[in-house]
Each structure stands twice: as structure tokens, then as C-alpha cells.
Amino acid sequence: MRHLLSTADLAKDEAIELLDTAAQMAATQSREIKKLPTLRGRTVVNLFFEDSTRTRISFETAAKRLSADVINFSAKGSSVSKGESLKDTALTLHAMGADAVVVRHWASGAPYQLAHAGWLDAAVLNAGDGTHMHPTQALLDAYTIRRHLGGHGGGLRRGGDDGVGADLAGLRVAIVGDVLHSRVARANVRLLRTLGAEVTLVAPPTLLPVGVEAWPCRTSYDLDATLADWQPDAVMMLRVQRERMSGGAGAFFPSPLEYTRYFGLDARRLAVLPAHSIVMHPGPMNRGLEISAEAADSDRAVIVEQVANGVAVRMAALYLLLSGSTEGTTL
């Protein structure tokens, strides 16, 4: 593994190796001394062209827990606002000797460009690009699902309590909401499919992308029917990305209230779900829009745990990309 750009490139054994490594990383995070010397002397640059709180902090925490040096770079207040191109920024980072670049960009494909244009010889980790991919988010979602439900639906559960070594075969995951603008949904559909889970996307027709029928999943316009008839093991609510909806929310659905009525997760819909099911959200949540406070704060919700697992998954990704001799294969 040389870069982590897209979950579509991850083979099943690579994905499971990443999740298993994350489980070991998570185990170290309950110790009194959480820092490991593994990446001492390596430099990780967080290159954020788009606003982010939890992903940047999560990557920064992960790198620091592995003793790497972290340099944070955000487009605001940097030379990018003076018009510097991605290429020149990359050449600058190369000259500074970055070993890994964590990049978030508003343009889909920017991390790919950074990894393959020959500007840099660092490992590139995609921390979200446009409406394309967000692989570490999908991996932490898969890790969270596996911890709670691994082996539940007949998947291989060989290892310890956290489902180590298992895939997600037979599990049903409903991804609900703004699929159109969601890189989280795209990354999750690919990864969950690779790991053997079944995915149903639930959204109003306006928020499903053109060409969704070619994705390896089903689609539905009816949340109530999906929850009642399909009985998903995990429900992942997506944030309604108003900032990406030109002309306000009205351009995609008539009103926020109507969206909540048809596609919001509330206590009534929660009661329809199987008893073992979990509720997920990649954050930040619009409480009262796609998820009600009761659903978000119920004991089925694993939303806070997702954040904690994010650190372990990102530690695993950094470890697998940065340790080992540099003759790796490009993902």
C-alpha cells in the first residue's frame, strides 16, 4: 500500500488488515501512555483546502500518537489564498521533506493528482475530496460496524471481542440522506460491498446521483418501508450538505420540515429497527433535520464512538503507509 486514495481500490484482505491494525491501535489508546514511538522522525503534513474540524484533529491526533511530526496547513491564511496552485504547494511540501500528506480538497480527484503527478514522493492520504471519496471515514464506519455486529449476520468471526479478522458478510446497512453530495456514502458503498455487507441507499430522488443504478447497492425512496421490511443492522444518517446546495435547501427538497418527515431518523423510526441495530452519523449532525435529538442521544447511537475509532483507523492507515521499506505498490 503506497497511498490511500479511494476505498474502491482496496482489496478485501487489505481492508481487513487495516481494520485489524486499527483494533490493535485502539487497544493502545486505553493505556496510560498512549504514545508509540513507531513513526519517530517522520513528518506528516495536513493539507486542508476545505474546512474540517474532526477529520483534521483526528489525523493530527493519530500522527502524534505515533510520534510523527505534524505540520498543519490550511488554505485560509496561506499562499493558496494568494493564488498558489496545487502543484506549487506540492513542490513546497516535497522540498520540506514530508513523508505523508493528508489532503482534503474541494475538487474530486485532487488527492489522486497529488499522488500520481510526480510532484511528491510522499504517501498521500485522502481526507475527503469533493463529492468523490473519504476512505478513512468509510474505514472507521466499517470498523465501528464490525466492533458491534461483526459475525452477527453469519460473517466470519474468528478472533477476539472486537471482531478481529472478520468481514461484514451478511450485514445490512442503510445509508440515508444526501447521497448526491456525499463522499462518505460513495466511500462506504464500495468498502462495505468489498467486506461483504449489503447496502441500501435511501434518499429523495433529487438527492440520488445520476448513474446510482450502476453502484453495487440498492436504492429506495421510502425510509419507513426500508426500515420495516429490510430490517437493517446499521443505519447511517448522512448530513444534509446545505453548503453544497446552491440556492439553499429548497433546490433539492420543498422544505426542511418535509425532509425531516420523510427522511429524518426519530424515536418512532428507531423503534422499528431490530434490537441489535446501531445508528451512525459521520458528523457534524444537523439535529432536528436528518436526525432527532432522541435518536442521536439514544443508546443505539455510536456517533461519539465513531470519532474515537477514527483516531485508531487513521493511526492504522499512517502505520501501514509509512512503516516498511518504501518499495511498495501503488494502490
Partner: protein, 222 residues
């Protein structure tokens, strides 16, 4: 004990790879029993002893030692006082090798604070694994003492590290490969040397015992 190579027509045991068997199953068992007694003797009882095996063979050896310790001193509980210590993330050669999978670290519930920790490994060679293990222990707590038990000491230390309990001192050449096979993992108990140059004149089993910590003649890699 039979020579694996150079005996045409004699089928080897299927599980023993080619090479010279220097310790057989009964030798391994006797060595472990002796080490167990030495651990109890040195710690004046097994009350505060914690065994930590280093993956992968060290974990199996530690489990066997735990059974023996329990039969010598009932104060030792093989469930409670046995753990495993993965040192992957503390290694100093991570950048020189292909990426290693991170293993499981499992500590006794009571931790290692104030205990006598006995690290258990199969083959002691450069000492770098043990250095990594000492660093890992330093992050996990402050034991009263750390001791080192290994089944085979093949010499060629690259760091000032000396075992406290040794099953067998085995003079080797740098180019040779020493493997410990254990029934739980490999289906049979044996210590095998391979890659020995023909006519090199190195001793074949049984090897004359060497005092622990005695300097090895040449260097080698496991």
C-alpha cells in the same frame, strides 16, 4: 534426532523442514522445566512473577512455562499471570523491512506494576527484539524487575543484552537460520538449524554447553 539433509532415501518427518535438528521434543521439555525452576528460584517463589511471551513462538513457550510454574508454585496462576507483548511498533527496523502486521498485546488484569516480569522468546539473537520489548514495557508500567528467558541463545548480540534463563546455548554462524518448532504451531517440538555450510566444522548436536553470556564466535541472523 535425525539429520534432515544428506540422507537420501530416508523420508523426513513431514513437519520438520530441512536442516539439522539440534533439540528434540524431550530436550525442549526438559529445558523448559529447568527454566521454570530457575525462575522460581531466582524470584524466591512465583508470587509476583508475570510471564510475557513475545509473538509468535514466545507466546506458546510462555504458556508452557506458565503450566510448569503453576505446578511448582501454586501461587502462580497461569490464567492470571500470563500475557503477550507485541513489540512491532517499537522495532528499530520498521523502515528496512516490508510492513509488519501489528500483533496483539495482552497484559494480566493486574498490570505489571511492581511485578517481576519474565520476557519469553524463542531464539535470542541480535537482542533488538528484546530492546523493543524493554521500551514497550516502559510504556506499560514500572515492573520491579525484568528478566529474560529464551529457549535458544544463538549469540551474535548487537546490543548489550544478556538472558537470565537459557534453554540451550547454540554457537551458530551468521548465515545459519535457527528455527524453533512447537507442537501448538508447527505440529512438532524441535529446534532446527539450516543453512549450515557443508564441512564448516560447526558442531552438530549435541552442542557443548556454553556459559550464559559467553561471547559467540561469529554473528548470525535468525
Amino acid at each position: 534426532m535425525s539429520a534432515g539433509t544428506g540422507m537420501p532415501g530416508t523420508p523426513d518427518q513431514p513437519t520438520v523442514p530441512e536442516g539439522t535438528v539440534v533439540l528434540g521434543a524431550s530436550d525442549v521439555a526438559r529445558a523448559l522445566t529447568r527454566i521454570a525452576h530457575e525462575i522460581v528460584e531466582r524470584a524466591k517463589g512465583a508470587e509476583d512473577v508475570v510471564l510475557l511471551g513475545i509473538p509468535t513462538r514466545g507466546v506458546t513457550l510462555a504458556a508452557r512455562l506458565a503450566q510448569r510454574l503453576a505446578s511448582i508454585d501454586p501461587a502462580f496462576d497461569p490464567e492470571r499471570d500470563l500475557g503477550e507483548l507485541d513489540v512491532t511498533m517499537y522495532r528499530d527496523d520498521l523502515r528496512r523491512q516490508p510492513t509488519r502486521a501489528v500483533g496483539v498485546t495482552r497484559l494480566p488484569a493486574a498490570g505489571i506494576e511492581g511485578k517481576t516480569v519474565v520476557l519469553v522468546d524463542d531464539v535470542l539473537f541480535s537482542g533488538r527484539t528484546i530492546r523493543a520489548a524493554l521500551d514497550a514495557i516502559g510504556d506499560l508500567g514500572r515492573p520491579q524487575a525484568v528478566r529474560l528467558a529464551c529457549l535458544v541463545d544463538r549469540g551474535h548480540r548487537e546490543l548489550p543484552i544478556r538472558p537470565d534463563f537459557v534453554g540451550k546455548n547454540l554457537p551458530t554462524a551468521q548465515t545459519e537460520r535457527v528455527r524453533v518448532l512447537l507442537a501448538e504451531v508447527d505440529g512438532t517440538d524441535a529446534v532446527v538449524i539450516s543453512g549450515r555450510e557443508p564441512g564448516a566444522g560447526a558442531p552438530v548436536a549435541p552442542v557443548a554447553p556454553v556459559a550464559p553470556g559467553a561471547p559467540a564466535v561469529e554473528g548470525g541472523e535468525r
